[in-house]
Every structure is written in structure tokens, then in C-alpha cells.
Amino acid sequence: MIKIGLTLGLFGLFLQPGVSFAAALPKGVKLLKEVRLRENVTATQYELPNGLTVVLVPNKIAPLTSVYHWVKAGSLHETPGVTGIAHLFEHMMFRPLAPSEPTFFMKVKKLGVAANAFTEFAMTVYTSTVPTKNLHALLEIEAARFQKLKVTTALLDLERKAVWSEYSTKMDSSPRMDLWEKIYRVAYPNHPYGWTVIGFREDLEKIKADDCNRFFTRYYRPNNTGLFIAGDIDSARTLAWVVQAYGSWARGADAKLPANYAEKREYAQAEGKVKSPAHQMLMGFRVPDMKVETSAVADVAQHIFFESDYSLARRRLLQRLRFVSVISPFNSSNDSGLMKLYAVPTAGHDSAELRDEVLKLGEDFGKLSAAEFTAYLRQYQVSTAEGVLRNDTLNEEVARSWGRYGDIAEIGKALAKPPTVTQAEVAEFAKSYFVKDNLVVVSTPSLE
């Protein structure tokens, strides 16, 4: 998982939009931004007249082209009674556009495409890797499903069964997944975070084809979508293909996230339902949604406290006290709303002890020297750079920079130099958020 985000402007990272290519842009297409990612690799952001964001990352040494569609339609956009629809709909996007047609996978089979998708709280992301010679054909197939999908009852009932299988395998059998679901339910009882991405089981049964089609019509719109293409591409030609395939996609209403959670803060703890031979626990601190102006401090805090190989949590609980056999950040690149720490206590130690020690991490942070803090920042930059070596991981982080922070420049900054965050800013963040009345703890039930 990659951390991105800085607060202060770094001069010289942004390139002026290229004059020569801008002059040759297709009609109505705006060139918004160019961001240097690394030597000879630049991301260029365009916007089509219908609001579709298009980011092209020509990378001549990439052997294949990566295509990401980032749709601002996740579980946070759902409403009570139809929870889980964003994820169910993601599955439906691989079904035939009409009963007589082949499935998406059957259509792209001849193109040598590897495709997948995932749903998160704030978005659903569709990923494809394609030989560059077949990019044009892939874009036509992709554009068709993003504009013309029609969910039928028969196909929905079939796919619903597959989602049941996913639900059953993940939520009913895996203690970790069960704890993940539980922690959001406990932390956010009156907010869409509370039903997590998978949704409520009872709702899954009730969702109808019309619900899916309404969800599609409401959210799958060009102005809610980012199209990211990275690889050995010719930008002008690729942009022309995109305009041709996606240009007639009709704009809709902008997707809006629900208000940030602003309830009174309160410590909470609970047990999950899936038993485990070893006690397992998940701790989460409620954190505000990421924004460009606040993301850097939050990301650095997460790196130092929970995520680095030398995180304060690892140092205290694993190495110094030996209270845990495993401690790791949990799903931190995907989830919002909670910064989470997963742990397996060693014999003789319980959740309460671990919780109390986690609450002392702020004291450990206060003892860090300036040299140690600088080492963390340098490490953060290196780990970011090492995480985007592949063409597809680079594309994903460009997309994440846009989708999560609203600006592709964030990943450019994170790759260019260590974050310009101060120790005082991180201390302040920890003081505000890594406190008991903002903490939620869930653990596996005992075997008895």
C-alpha cells in the first residue's frame, strides 16, 4: 500500500501544460495538468466535454498497457435497504449487456486481457491489462459496458448466488474479515460506513434489477469517472480513441459523499462472531476523510505509528513487550474512516492490555529524535517509490491520487521527495485522533 499526499506545494514538480500537444487536442478536450512521476514518465490529465477525467501515462518501457476506470460509486453512496448494491453491481458489470450477448470476459478473451475489479467505500474500480496493440478494441468494449449495461432479473439472480458465495466465504468463515465488518458496524452505527462494502446480508436478497439499473444510471456517469491509461501508448492516438468511444456518454448528477461522521466520540469494544483457535483483534481509530490539505500529516502519522517495518506499534508491542505474535496495519490503502491495526496476542495477553499499550504510542512518538523522524520521512518516500515500479501499480496510484485526494499531483509530490511534514504536526494529529474516546476494539470470541 502506498502512501501519498503532502501539504505544501513543491515548486518545480508541475510542468506547464504542453503547448504543442494542447494545440492538437480533440475538440472540446481540455488539458488540465501534467505531473512528472519519474524520469521520462509524466502523467497528463485531460477532461472531456462530458466531464470524463482522462489521465494518460506514456511509459515506453512498459510491456503492456494498464487501464483503470475509477467510478465514484461505493458503499458510501448506498442507502438503507439496498446496502451492498455497489459491490453487487460491480459483479454485474461483467455480465452480458443484453441477454443475447457474451459476457465481458468472453468479449475480451481474444484480446489477451487480464481484468478485475474491486469495490471500496467511496468508489468502484475496474482494472484491465492489455497488449497495447489491442488497446483500441478494449476501450470500445469498456466504453460500451459503462454506457449500455442493462441488468435483468435472471442475470441478477444468478450473480446474487456468486455474491452469496463470496459473502459466506469471507464473512462467515474468516475471523479477520468478520472483525473488519464488525469494527465498522460498531464505530459507525448511524452512517454508511456501518454497513461496510459487502452490505447487510438481508439487503442482498432484496435488491432488484431496477435498483441496479437506477444505481447505474445515477452514478455511472462520465463526470463521476476517471479513466487512467498507462503503458507504451501514443497519447494523441489514445486520446482520440477515448473521445470516440466515451464522447457520447451522457453527463449526470455529480456523486456526493455523505457528510463526514460527526457524532460524539466514544470508546467502543465488541466481539466478532467467527471463532478462532487463536485470539485475534482489530483496533481502529476514527479519522476524518482524506483531503489534499490534511492527507500528508495523516499518512505520515499512519506510517510512523502503524505501518512502517519500524512502526511504533511494532517496536512496542512486538519487539519490546512481546505481547503479540503478529501486528500489522489492516487494509489501510483501501478503507477510509478508520486507521486500523490487526494483532494476534501471545499467550497470557488480552485485548485490554494491547489496547492500553497502543494508547501509549503517542508517548513513544514524543521521544523520537529529529534524526529518527527524518529517517521515517525518507523511508516513507522510498517505500512509495518501491511500490510503483510496475506499470499497473503506478497507474493505480495515479488513479488513487485523483480519487482519494482529488489531485494527481499528490503522487508526483510523494515520489519526488520526502514529505514536508513537521514532527509537531504529526504529534498534534496523534493527540487529536489516537486517543481512547476515538478508539474501537473488536476481537474474536473465545472458543468456549
Binding site: 510491456p63 478473451k109 492489455v130 456468486a162 458465495s165 462467515d172 478462532s276 529518527e372 515500479l389
Partner: protein, 457 residues
């Protein structure tokens, strides 16, 4: 964040090549160094050609405890001092073992390369073999292993891959049962350390922004100073797959009381040498049979029947067997148990078209390019090829050879090598629900061996 660069466990688990452009170290050990200026840090791998497969069966899991002890640093530094040193070097040291190899990876920015290699050499020369460190590492590994018992797919694969091949060394990936972990002693750890991490059987690789010649000199000065032991390549016993073939299916049920979901794994021993054209034909065959949602299994069991979220078939990377794997709820299990053999039998009778084979070739080409995109990926492949005695030409010519595959060759492969008869079936779930389902699928209870997770060796 834990960098992926320092982790080669997956390749170690999978089961060699002559090195691409090797030079020799002063003790005649191969050195495979590659310059990659896109990497922020240099990583050197010391590859020890003896792995967990050589550790006695009753001591399986020992390498996990050993590596955890090594992870605590050399005896002349406290663990805190050691970690602080690594932290300030922006470096890392990791130990890992698979069936045929153990490895030490050392990663650091160019300016700290000599320091990190020096630290690695000190650690290898004098680990913390004291009672307290050992007890702590053992407790940690046991706790971690206990938590893995809740993961049904982990337990299923852990048991099935070992059981189907009689616990052959090539199936021993370093993990052990709770039984064996609990019985391991510090004396055994010391003894096995001397065998596993012995520089006589080590060769060296490096990748990153530092010129390979410079890395080589650094490695020599830190690991092979004075009269270094001469390199002695290790020979591994090959697994005789034919011994494990069965005319009838052996069924094993791993009990998980109360489970609402069942895991299903078929294993069919079938040796196909990995570096041959036949193996490529097999890759194409399995792409068509089990390749995601467009494969026959995914299309039939998921897309058309909605029985599962996932159904796949593939050939093991070491070319020992082919497997089919799926999972589903109790109500779907009978359909899955019957569905897999039915789909395979139907596939055996098909006449494949040139277009379908061409589609599968395109997909495999995409997979190969994606999996070998980085210089690091290619280095890992060379290490794997060398460990398993495979021809480096196979890797270099893969893209040319995959394009040569024709439908008749794929169909021949399917009919000769992919049969759903005999072999091994492993299922995991609640036996009270599973036994009647197995019976309905044609596996009567008297032929089903039921095992408890706690009893697994």
C-alpha cells in the same frame, strides 16, 4: 510499509536456471548482478541451496523459528540496537526458506550498502542462540501458526499438498504443524542453522542502482574474506510423481465443525517437465479450462450456474500435478463436487478451434509479460530455474514458443494429461453436512478419511 523487494518467499515456495550472465566469486560461487537504476535501494540475495525440504519431517516449522531468531540480530547487539541500526540505515535484512532454498536478503540505499552487508555477515556469523531469544521466537511462531488454523483454505492446502505426495521434501515449504513446532529445541535449531545457512552452498545475486562489480567486491570482502569455503552446488532428489498416481480417488475430509462454507481441492499427480514445449501446451490447455471467468470451469460453475465465487484449474509450477479448486456454501457443494469432473470430462471430448487457442496464447503472453516486467522478476525466475535444474533457454524463448502452440497439440495434452479420474480429493467443512453430500456425489462414507485439524501432522 513492508517493501516487496525484500520478499522472495513466494518463489521459494514454488519450487532454478543457469544464471543469465554470471560471473564467479572468489570461491567459485556464481554471482548474478544486475544494474537497475529505477530502484531506490540495492538488494543483495545470498541464496543457500539447501531448504526446508532437507529438515526432518518431525522438525518442520523449525525454519520459521530459526528465521525469527535471526530476525532479532547478531549476538553482539541487543534487539533494540539492531533494529535502530537498520532503521537509521533505511535498510532491511530478511531470512526466508522454501523447499529447496534459504535466502538472506539485504536491502539499503547505495550509500549504506557496505554497512548493511557487513551487518548481514555479522549476523550470519553469530546469531542470538540463547534460551530467551529461542523461547520468544518459538512462542511467536506457535501463536502465528495457531491463528492460521482459522483460515480454511490455508489448512486445506497445507495438508493436501503434503499428503498427496507423501510429505516429499519438495512439498515442505518451511511451515510446520503445531505438533512439530512444540517439540523443536534450541539444540536442533543450532544444528540446522549450520546446515541451512552454510556459505559453502551459497551463491550471490544483486539488483539495484549500484554497479554489480562494486556489489560483488563488497560481498566478497564481507562474506568471503580470508580462506573462503569453495562453493559446492547442492543436488536435490527429484520427486517420483508416478509413485503417487492412484486409479481411484482417495478422499480426505478435514473437519471444521460448524463451518457454513466448504473448501474443495482435487489433486491429480501428473509429471510434466516444466521447461518443455509440452509444458507450454499444458499452460494453454489450463488457460482454456481454468483461466478465470472465461475458462470452462469459471464459465460453467460461476457464470452459468452461480454455484461459487471462484473455480479454477491449473498445473503446479513445479509440474508435479494438476489441481482444481473451488469453494462454496453447503447448498452448492454437491453441484461443485459433481460439476468439476463433469466439466473436465466434457473438455476432454471437445475439438478446440484455432481461434480459441489463439485467444489463450494471447492471454498467456500477457501474463508472462506482466510477471516478468521488472528486472527483479527476471532475477527471481533465474533463481527458481537454477533451484529446479531448468533450462534458461526455456525462459528466454517462452514468448516465441508459446506462439508455436497449435490446437492439435493442446487437445493431445488434454486427453493424455488432464483426467478427473483417480487422484486425491480434499474437502474441508462440517462433517455432519459434508459426508451426506460426498455420498451423493459418489464418495461413500466408508471411503472417506475424516481428519481433525488438530491431528494433522
Amino acid at each position: 510499509m513492508r517493501s516487496q523487494l525484500t520478499r522472495i518467499a513466494p518463489l521459494l515456495l514454488l519450487a532454478s536456471t543457469a544464471l543469465a550472465s554470471p560471473t564467479a566469486m572468489k570461491n567459485q560461487a556464481p554471482f548474478d548482478g544486475e544494474l537497475d537504476r529505477s530502484l531506490p535501494r540495492e538488494t543483495t540475495y545470498v541464496i543457500f541451496e539447501t531448504g526446508a525440504g532437507s529438515v526432518p519431517l518431525a522438525m518442520q516449522g523449525l525454519v520459521r523459528i530459526l528465521n525469527d531468531v535471526l530476525d532479532k540480530g547478531p549476538s553482539n547487539l541487543s534487539e533494540d540496537e539492531y533494529r535502530q541500526k537498520l532503521f537509521l540505515l533505511n535498510g532491511s535484512l530478511h531470512f526466508d526458506c522454501g523447499p529447496r532454498l534459504c535466502s538472506l536478503s539485504a536491502t539499503a540505499p547505495a550509500e549504506n550498502l557496505d554497512e548493511i552487508i557487513k551487518l548481514a555477515a555479522e549476523l550470519l556469523a553469530a546469531p542470538k542462540f540463547d534460551d530467551a531469544t529461542f523461547a520468544d521466537a518459538k512462542a511467536k511462531v506457535i501463536a502465528n501458526r495457531t491463528s492460521q488454523e482459522s483460515d480454511m483454505s490455508y489448512v486445506l492446502f497445507y495438508h493436501a499438498t503434503r499428503d498427496a505426495f507423501g510429505y516429499h521434501p519438495d512439498t515442505l515449504d518451511g511451515n510446520g504443524s503445531l505438533h512439530s513446532l512444540r517439540s523443536i529445541t534450541l539444540a536442533q535449531l543450532r544444528e540446522q542453522f549450520g546446515r541451512l545457512y552454510n556459505l559453502k552452498q551459497a551463491y550471490f545475486t544483486a539488483i539495484g542502482p549500484v554497479p554489480p562489480q562494486k556489489v560483488k567486491l563488497c560481498l566478497e570482502s564481507r562474506f568471503l574474506a580470508g580462506t573462503a569455503p569453495r562453493y559446492q552446488p547442492t543436488k536435490h532428489e527429484e520427486l517420483e510423481v508416478s509413485r503417487f498416481k492412484r486409479p481411484t480417488t482417495k478422499v480426505t475430509l478435514i473437519e471444521r465443525a460448524g463451518a457454513t462454507d466448504n473448501q474443495i481441492l482435487f489433486i491429480f499427480p501428473e509429471r510434466v517437465k516444466t521447461d518443455t514445449q509440452e509444458a507450454i501446451e499444458g499452460l494453454i490447455a489450463f488457460e482454456i479450462l481454468g483461466g478465470g471467468l472465461s475458462g470452462r470451469l469459471g464459465d460453467s460453475l460461476r457464470t452459468k450456474r452461480g454455484l461459487t465465487y471462484h473455480a479454477t484449474a491449473s498445473r503446479s509450477l513445479q509440474g508435479l500435478s494438476w489441481t482444481a479448486y473451488t469453494f462454496g456454501g453447503v447448498a452448492q457443494t454437491l453441484g461443485l463436487l459433481k460439476g468439476i469432473p463433469e466439466v473436465v470430462m466434457s473438455f476432454r471430448k471437445e475439438t478446440l478451434t484455432a481461434a480459441e487457442v489463439a485467444d489463450a496464447i494471447e492471454k498467456r503472453t500477457t501474463s508472462f509479460k506482466g510477471a516478468t516486467e521488472l528486472a527483479r522478476d527476471r532475477l527471481f525466475e533465474r533463481i527458481r530455474y537454477k533451484a529446479y535444474g531448468l533450462s534458461p533457454d526455456f525462459f528466454k524463448k517462452f514468448l516465441v514458443n508459446v506462439k508455436r502452440v497449435r490446437p492439435a497439440q493442446v487437445m493431445r495434452y488434454v486427453r493424455q494429461k488432464i483426467s478427473p479420474e483417480g487422484g486425491y480429493l480434499y474437502v474441508m467443512g462440517d462433517k455432519t453436512k459434508l459426508l451426506p453430500i460426498l455420498e451423493a456425489a459418489g464418495y461413500p462414507p466408508k471411503d472417506v478419511k475424516v481428519v481433525e485439524v488438530s491431528e494433522l501432522p
